[in-house]
Symmetry: C2
Subunit: 270 residues, 2 copies
DNA sequence: GGCTGTGAACAGTTTCACAGCG
DNA sequence: CGCTGTGAAACTGTTCACAGCC
């Protein structure tokens, strides 16, 4: 499987760490809000609070982009908005296609957050012929048969997959074959793509499961209201709870064993 | 803001790293699929491929849960499904409420991935009186006025916010006041919550922006088809692209900024 | 022989704390 | 003085490589 080639120290494209890239959109949103309120400058402390991170992290992040602040003053809001937008590639237009116009696809089509950034929905595509021509978010749904044509004609390089899991890989293959090199996958499947194609996935149920994990920990613990740090609860979450609470371990596996010698608990949820 | 208390070495509840917790749902899904095909055992290599991670990582992850494998053989599928479910807290029932029944809320309500895990949608709630009583995914939408009552009566501890950004914080406050301690936020806002409440967020446009960043890097590069490693394109993506492409910097900021002080590694293997 | 489990090396990320500039 | 920018320290996460068991 793994093609001969081994590791790779690279990872960084031009010096901007992935973790930083993932936060730039956050900063951008906070800055956009400030910009709309005509706030001229902002300190790392204020901006960090608005973005839900801590200020040291924010300053470090910005330091990878360059020195865009003014000591003793802060950052110029407009200028930073521009710099981050440029860094993210949002100063250009990105045509995207959304494949799979079910509930989720429709939600995505209607989502204002796309258009307001540099994204333009070039087409909505669905395999169901009954959907063809229907208007969703003011656009006619087009049939899967046209997928390749649409991709090529619009020079689409980003595709969003919102189909059922079963159709995802096939759609993915067609998108890639037609020229798409970045895919946002909402279907609960692992997609295989050739080298050079980026895939990011968003899985609704995974997020809930992670919450359940932490929730369970809280419940297992009697008192202690757990703690966190800065007023805001950011993405990563975690780092909460307060105790090992070896409790709940009761049922089994308490020690080491592994083996249901010949049989399994089978208790399973559903 | 920050309440006296400072850091906390903790982070790990009972030894399971956050990164591992975040992957457990992935393994669980792959295992469930194997289970449905009645596959009795699976090796770390196979399971890793199915989950889209590498086998060393998977083995390390599992080692935090205990020794559930058999050397020379692999893992018992059913048993692992059970262990992971238990670890994630999915062997119990988690009633959740979804607030904001727009396109996205409806998509979530219809999403099968919830019910199939331990999640049960206890109620769909919307502020629009015109929605009240309407059936979505077979459930009647209820009005926001009832929010507190619903939470308490159903002992809901997990809430999903799918409202417009403007309403999110207010909804969040009410959820928390009524007893919710875990929130999955789809609204593009940073939520403030008291200590002990977990928030995870899913932001559709952020994911696209991250893709755009990488896409831009690819475009800046002429040839080199970039590389990746094992056939599958996993979540984190990144680590692709092939060149710094200091190019695009042209327009502005060419003057004062200093970035990484000249050096700039530039080029890369290729 | 095959595959798990894991210490140890490595890589990436966050936090600290303070020098340096406006 | 205030606030940015950043080395260095601390930490978290990943990968390697192999001992140990089946």
């Amino acid at each position: 499987m793994a093609t001969g080639r081994s590791h790779r120290p690279a990872t960084r494209s031009r010096g901007i760490p992935e973790a930083t890239v993932a936060r730039l959109p956050l900063y951008l949103r906070a800055l956009t809000a400030l910009s709309e309120r005509s706030v001229p400058t902002v300190s790392s402390e204020e901006l960090a609070a608005a973005a839900g991170v801590n200020s040291a992290k924010l300053r470090k992040d910005f330091s990878y982009l360059g020195s865009y602040g003014t000591r003793g003053v802060g950052y110029d809001v407009e200028y930073l908005v521009y710099q981050i937008s440029r860094e993210l590639g949002l100063t250009q237009d990105w045509p995207v296609v959304i494949v799979g116009i079910g509930n989720l696809g429709a939600a995505l089509a209607n989502y204002g957050g796309f258009a307001s950034r540099g994204f333009r929905v070039a087409a909505l595509i669905d395999a169901d012929a009954a959907m063809t021509g229907k208007l969703v978010a003011g656009m006619p749904v087009r049939h899967t048969d046209e997928l390749e044509k649409i991709i090529v004609e619009n020079e689409v390089s980003i595709g969003v997959i919102a189909t059922p899991a079963g159709a995802a890989q096939q759609v993915c293959d067609r998108l890639v074959a037609a020229g798409v090199t970045s895919i946002l996958n909402f279907a609960p499947t692992v997609l295989s793509v050739p080298d050079g194609v980026d895939v990011r996935k968003v899985d609704l149920s995974i997020e809930l499961q992670i919450l359940a994990f932490h929730e369970q920990r809280k419940a297992g613990e009697g008192g202690a209201p757990a703690e966190a740090e800065g007023a805001v609860g950011v993405e990563g979450a975690a780092a909460k709870v307060t105790k090992p609470a070896t409790t709940a371990d009761s049922d089994r596996a308490g020690d080491d064993n592994k083996g249901p010698d010949g049989d399994v608990p089978a208790v399973m949820p559903a």
